[in-house]
Amino acid sequence: MLKFLTPLLIFAVLAIFLAIGLNLNPREIPSPFIDKPAPPFTLQTLDDPSRTLSTADLKGQVWLLNVWASWCVSCRAEHPVLNRLAEQKLAVIIGLNYKDEPEDAKNWLARLGNPYDVSVLDMEGLTGIDWGVYGVPETFVIDKQGVVRYKHTGPVTDKDIETTFLPLLNTLQAE
C-alpha cells in the first residue's frame, strides 16, 4: 500500500509546488518601499523646466506616481486607463517622465491626452533608481503622510483600477 502511496504523494507535493511556481509572476518583485516613506525628489516639471516639484509639496494629499515614457509601449496601452482615472479626481496623479526627451513627451501627451496633474523630468533615470524602478510603467500610491502604500508594476488595467486602486484610494482619502 505504502509502495503505491509514496510516489503518488511525492507527485502531489511536486504538482502543488509547480502549480504555485507557474502562477507566480517573476516580473512582480515585491517593493521594499511599501509602508516606508516615499523617497524624496525635487525635479523640474515637464511643462516649465524653470519650475520644480518636490515630494514635500505633496504632503497632506493622496497621490499617485506613475512612471512613464513616450518610448514605452506598455505605457501607451495604459494611457487611456489613466485618463479615465484622472477624470474621477480621486487623487493627484504625478507623472515621472523617465529617461525621455521632453519634446517627445510633450507631443505624446498632446496627442493622447494628459492624465497628469504634473509631470516631472527624470532624464537620467536617477530618481527611477531611488524609487527602485526597473520596468516602465510603474505606479506607486502614496498616502497623506507621504508613505508608499502600494506599488503596481506594468500597465494598469481597468480591472486593476476597479479591484485595487479605487478601494485603496477611497480608504486613503478617508484616513
Binding site: G125, I129, D130
Partner: protein, 166 residues
C-alpha cells in the same frame, strides 16, 4: 546545378559564421566599458559588485552581463558611489533598499530565505535516508536468501546420504 547548390551552401556557411562571430563581439561589448579607477582595489570591488547584482529587467543576468539600459545605469551608479569613497557594504545596502534582496545574486540568510538555504541540506538528508533504507532492505533479503540456500543444501545432503545407505 550541382555546383551552384554547392556554392550556395558555402556562402550560407560563411554568412552564418560571420553572423555568429559578430554576435559574440556584441555580447563582449557589454563587458568592455572603459572606466578609470583610482586604485586597483577599487576596480576589484567594482568588478565583483557588478557581477553580484542582478539586472532586474533581464532577471537572469547580472548587471555586468547585461546590455539593458537599467543595467548600464546601475553600473554607473556603482561606479559613482565607489568614486565617492562608499564602501562595498554601503553600495549593497543602497541597492537592497531600493530593489529588495532580489537584486542580490547571493541572498542573505534570513527567516524568509531559510528554506532556500537549507533545502539542499534537507534533500541530502532525505537522499541518505532513502539510500540507507534501500541498502538495509537489500541486505536483509540476501541474508534470508542465503539462509534459505543452506537449508536447501542441508536437505540435498540428507537425501544423498540416504541414497548411499540403500
Amino acid at each position: 546545378m550541382h555546383v551552384t547548390n554547392h556554392s550556395i551552401n558555402a556562402i550560407m556557411r560563411i554568412i552564418f559564421l560571420v553572423f555568429f562571430l559578430l554576435w559574440g563581439v556584441q555580447a563582449i561589448a557589454a563587458a568592455v566599458e572603459v572606466k578609470n579607477f583610482d586604485t586597483p582595489e577599487q576596480e576589484r570591488v567594482y568588478n565583483s559588485l557588478i557581477s553580484e547584482l542582478r539586472c532586474l529587467v533581464c532577471q537572469n543576468q547580472t548587471i555586468a552581463d547585461s546590455n539593458a539600459d537599467l543595467a548600464k545605469d546601475l553600473r554607473a551608479q556603482v561606479y559613482k558611489m565607489l568614486q565617492q569613497g562608499k564602501s562595498r557594504q554601503e553600495i549593497v545596502d543602497f541597492m537592497t533598499q531600493r530593489y529588495g534582496d532580489f537584486v542580490l545574486y547571493n541572498p542573505p540568510m534570513k527567516a524568509k530565505t531559510s528554506l532556500l538555504w537549507l533545502a539542499p541540506l534537507l534533500f541530502l538528508v532525505i537522499g541518505l535516508l532513502v539510500a540507507w533504507s534501500v541498502v538495509r532492505k537489500k541486505r536483509l533479503a540476501t541474508r534470508s536468501e542465503s539462509a534459505h540456500d543452506s537449508a536447501q543444501s542441508e536437505e540435498i545432503r540428507r537425501l544423498l546420504e540416504q541414497g548411499d545407505d540403500r
